[in-house]
Amino acid sequence: MKVLVTVKEVASVADDFEIEELAIPETYLEYDLNEWDDYAVEAAVRIAEDRDEAVEVVAVTVGPERSEETIRRVLAKGVDRAIRVWDDRLAEAGVTDPTTTARLLAAVAEREDPDLVLSGVQASDDGYGATGVALAERLDVGWAAVVNDFDLGDGEVDVRRELEGGVEELTTVSLPAVLTIQTGINDPRYASLRGIRQAQKKEIAVRTLADLGLDPSILDSDLILREVAKPEADADPTIFEGGPTETAADLETVLRDAGVGAE
């Protein structure tokens, strides 16, 4: 069987960052594998390890050359090979909304024809939380969002969806399917030294829009970014300044006023 796992290299902003017009300058950005995708990768690799039949795990990403560093780490964790979708037009188009991302991923998925696709619930940078389900719909297959446990059977998969407030929903979805994976579903491994060495030999195939038979017009997004700003704070907290001794003394006053420590 084949498992496709969608991964994204995400940016987080450093403490004390600045915004220049519609972007955050590179100096304030740090890149890493999307947290939710790390759990999806682990789930995919475990399927390969746990099943008797041969399982191929393929990672797919949409991202610039820089993201190969992150993708290598995924390969080092046991993914067999990776596909990176990128070209000049994609680089130019910049912001891709989830609809566009789902289209690009669907073009890869159609060619790979996986039995199961695992995706993260959301990406920590733009937080749309929509790509996995949009991908499933585009592929015309079943899906489940926010999955924190699953049991793969023949032709179907039993999932637990984590709803709000400590309630889980038990659902059966027929295969092929896309599951969006929630953090906590497993304990993602670190790449071993051996894994890192092996990853160097694994393939990261780059696919352009043309390779995927996609018309560049799909990049004309209906969503136009108009403004990027630091949010205005709703609250205006009293911030205590000074070293730990002083700030702890200030906190003690607040805590005692609120009744903490009163016997």
Partner: protein, 318 residues
């Protein structure tokens, strides 16, 4: 475009979820700007009772769809698509809830319309503009949607809950469901995360987040909780890592707490965490990052290292 807005209410185990009423407020606001009617849809379960509850001020029509008991995304996606096609509204509003995440992207794809998720504000001026948060709420992005119609999921807690009696028309909507298109089947529900300690009962909560860095350091937070006679709770990563049990998790998928004092140590204040603690009487945050969104809900804060502040505090209360 008609200017109409279609909002899809959400319920679970017999009760409408609070976000349904917030959706009505968001929908009314948008329909006023577009000059259309607000249509609210509710499907599954006791739709007559739900429709009565949804007959609040600002709603023009409630569409009831008697299909199934609980949410099933295949049914919900099919019904929402059919209703959308029959009403041809300018905008579709869905809660940015776990179930919203489970069908809104499919509906937008099926209808070939743009989707903006997790909106915290919506505006209309010849087109929909939505504000959403990125980079873990540290950045706010304003997105303009160039075409109509559009689908939006809205963040809970951002709009007031609609109230006051209204007099909407109640219209049952019949849909021919293609049973063969159903690829999923809900088998039931299960409560998780209960245990010896009920953090929702605590008057004082010390909560630790990923800033605690290592399992061993959780002891330090425990020590502080003991010194303050408080209950130890955590954000999700601490629980995901297995450093504390699930019943200690505060947030959207954990427990909602409303203590007198909530002391957040090394917690960024992601929306799903804040959903579980914003009702606390006094919120105090210790975080090295001055831009951490937790400071947006805090009453008092220290921009600093918890590993320096916490030992001092233990000494003072120990």
């Amino acid at each position: 475009m008609s200017g109409d807005v279609l909002a899809v209410a959400e319920h679970r185990r017999g009760d409408l979820r609070p976000v349904s009423y917030e959706l009505v407020s968001a929908g009314r606001e948008l329909a006023d700007a577009t000059g259309g009617d607000l249509h609210v849809a509710v499907g599954g379960g006791d739709v007559e009772t739900f429709a009565d509850h949804l007959a609040v001020e600002g709603v023009d029509v409630v569409h009831t769809v008697a299909e199934g008991e609980e949410f099933n995304h295949d049914v919900c996606a099919a019904v929402t698509t059919a209703l959308f096609e029959s009403l041809a509204p300018t905008a579709l509003l869905v809660p940015h809830s776990v179930n919203g995440l489970d069908y809104a992207p499919a509906v937008a794809t099926r209808l070939s319309i743009p989707l903006v998720t997790d909106a915290v504000a919506i505006d209309y001026d010849d087109g929909v503009t939505a504000v959403r948060e990125t980079y873990g709420s540290k950045v706010e992005a304003t997105v303009e949607v160039e075409t109509e119609p559009v689908a939006l999921t809205i963040r809970g807690g951002e709009w007031p809950a609609a109230e006051g009696n209204g007099d909407p028309g109640i219209e049952p909507f019949d849909v021919d469901l293609d049973e063969s298109a159903l690829r999923s089947q809900v088998r039931g529900f299960e409560e998780v995360g209960t245990g010896d300690v009920d953090i929702s009962e605590a008057d004082f909560v010390v909560a630790v987040g990923r800033g605690i860095d290592d399992e061993e350091n959780v002891d330090l937070a425990e020590e502080l909780a003991d010194a303050l006679d408080a209950t130890l709770a955590a954000s999700r990563p601490v629980v995901d890592n297995g450093w504390l049990p699930k019943n200690r998790q505060v947030g959207q998928s954990g427990t909602v707490v409303t203590p007198d004092v909530y002391l957040a140590l090394g917690i960024s204040g992601a929306v799903q965490h804040v959903a579980g603690m914003k009702g606390s009487e006094t919120i105090i945050a210790v975080n090295t990052d001055p831009d951490a969104p937790i400071f947006d809900v805090a009453d008092y804060g220290v921009v600093g290292d918890l590993f320096e502040v916490v030992p001092e505090l233990i000494e003072r209360f120990g």
